[in-house]
């Protein structure tokens, strides 16, 4: 008699267990977890049409005070496919003045104040472009832009990181996307804007940024939305992080020759 009386409760309990299992399964399959090789992101991050599959690099790990120059840590042309070249006019070692006047700040004054507060000591930016320019972007080769910043202290880099990430997250149109974290802190965003030159293909910027100790690296790609996700940017970021950690050779890039101006004495 007792057994019969308990039967409805057992059925109810079994039903609840099944519902709970279903909810867990749905959570895992629909992307609520880190089920795709370690990819994760802040809550609300967007899973792209082609989800990130980049898992390279070290998540977490040491938090060093890196002394190598940012240009040495950055990516070399030889580390990209043969169809790339350096956009020389946009590639240079950054000074405090170029940093303070960069897009990160609303005014030069703000840049100067933040530079002093964060104790920035060096910076380097490099632009790579496919030799086929926008036409080759349509074939899947994005423009790549890398900024590497070095601060005197880890605390300075942390403060700069908070500012940079806040800047990116508040930029209208900027969307956080799913990507496996890298280094001590990292973020991944995309920004869809316009088309690739005069084509009808939507253009998209992806930006993967991270902090490793006293270094902040931000990698931006610009490509056709139909063929891009965060992975090219993240893979470049992971390559640079390997250099910062000493697990990949870091070579100073060949300096770009200073232009000469005949007739001006040099």
């Amino acid at each position: 008699m007792n057994k019969r009386n308990n039967q409805p409760l057992l059925i109810l309990a079994a039903g609840l267990v099944l519902i709970a299992m279903g909810a867990v399964a749905a959570f895992l399959f629909l992307g609520g977890g880190d089920d795709d090789g370690g990819t994760s992101a802040p809550s609300g991050a967007l899973r792209e049409k082609t989800p990130s599959a980049s898992t390279r690099g070290t998540t977490g790990g040491p938090e060093p005070v890196v002394t190598m120059t940012p240009s040495k840590a950055s990516l070399l042309l030889g580390e990209l496919p043969d169809n790339y070249e350096v956009d020389v006019t946009s590639t240079f070692t950054m000074t405090v003045s170029t940093f303070t006047s960069s897009y990160w700040f609303r005014s030069n004054k703000e840049g100067e104040e933040k530079s002093a507060e964060w104790k920035i000591v060096d910076g380097y930016q490099v632009y790579f472009q496919p030799k086929g320019l926008a036409a080759e972007v349509l074939q899947g080769s994005p423009y790549i832009h890398i900024e590497t910043y070095q601060f005197a202290t880890i605390d300075g880099a942390k403060a700069a990181w908070d500012y940079f990430d806040g800047f990116l997250s508040r930029t209208p149109g900027s969307e956080a996307v799913e990507a496996k974290p890298l280094a001590n802190e990292s973020s991944a965003y995309r920004f869809i804007e316009g088309t690739v030159s005069v084509s009808e293909d939507l253009a998209v910027y992806h930006r993967f940024s991270y902090r490793r100790g006293n270094i902040i690296v931000t990698v931006v790609t610009w490509g056709a939305d139909k063929s891009m996700n965060i992975d090219p940017a993240r893979n470049v970021a992971a390559t640079i992080d390997d250099k910062l950690l000493g697990t990949r050779p870091a070579v100073e890039p060949t300096p770009i020759p200073t232009p000469s101006f005949p007739g001006l004495g040099n």
Binding site: G132, A135, E136, S199
Partner: protein, 256 residues
């Protein structure tokens, strides 16, 4: 083949050049036969069945630099008047000089004009969506002769390897082709050629564009064709261009 040479090869035998251009596997060829008639015109086409008989000079009915804006430079080396004798010597088009002369006489060939435009920035601009342009204009004694020439051109093109492309009609009758040949400069980006050939009255006009894969369709060539067609119909001013070969840099007269 260098770009200049290729365009030069195209100059006097626009349709047959695609026979030499080889593969067309990346061209945006349509499924249709590539031939349209004025009666099938739809939005965007000049809505006229007029078939005028125009007099020389042929250059009046070409596309001028003023028609296309400031983003192009005239390719002066490839701008000239075509006479029947020179045109008949094109081996790719006619096989031999005698055959060329015979056909041109049969068609009543009067005169032709060719010009080309280079995008400012050249290949760098092409890799960002710009394109090269070449325009040929051929005048015949009458519509019947022009029609024979049009059929000859298009029959030749049909066996040349160029792919027919569907295009909104232009003129009394028109065809369009596309082909891929070579790359843009030293890049891996394939060069695409699009060509629209149309006849209006006693005039045959050939528009050729060269651009980068990913950007190019037949539409720019067709838009240029519409400009030429408007001139033939008198809907747009048809001005004889200043002969480039006689251009001299102005110099002040020496003072006594």
């Amino acid at each position: 083949m260098p770009r200049r040479l290729l365009l030069a090869a195209c100059a006097l035998a626009a349709v047959p050049v695609f026979a030499a251009c080889g593969d067309d596997d990346d061209a945006d060829a349509g499924a249709g036969p590539g031939t349209s008639t004025a009666s099938a015109q739809t939005a965007g086409a000049t809505n006229s069945n007029d078939s005028p008989t125009l007099a020389t000079p042929a250059s009046k009915y070409s596309v001028s630099i003023d028609d296309i804006g400031i983003a192009w430079l005239t390719d002066i080396a490839n701008t000239y008047i075509i006479d029947a004798t020179a045109y008949g010597k094109q081996p790719m088009l006619f096989g031999n000089e005698a055959e060329g002369k015979k056909l041109l006489t049969d068609w009543g060939y009067l005169e032709g004009y060719e010009t080309a435009y280079i995008p400012e920035g050249r290949d760098t601009a092409v890799l960002k969506g710009a394109y090269y342009i070449k325009v040929e204009t051929h005048l015949f004694k009458d519509e019947a002769g022009a029609n024979k020439a049009f059929k000859y051109f298009t029959d030749y093109a049909a066996t040349s390897g160029a792919s027919p492309v569907n295009v909104q009609p232009v003129g009394n009758v028109s065809v369009a082709f596309a082909t891929s040949y070579g790359t843009i400069g030293s890049t891996n980006v394939k060069a695409l050629y699009h060509q629209v050939v149309f006849r209006r009255g006693n005039v045959i006009t050939i528009l050729l564009t060269k651009g980068a894969q990913g950007f190019m369709t037949v539409e720019p060539a067709r838009e240029l064709a519409l400009i030429a067609d408007e001139k033939i119909l008198g809907e747009r001013p048809a001005v004889e261009p200043t002969p480039t070969s006689s251009y001299k840099t102005p110099t002040p007269a020496p003072k006594p």
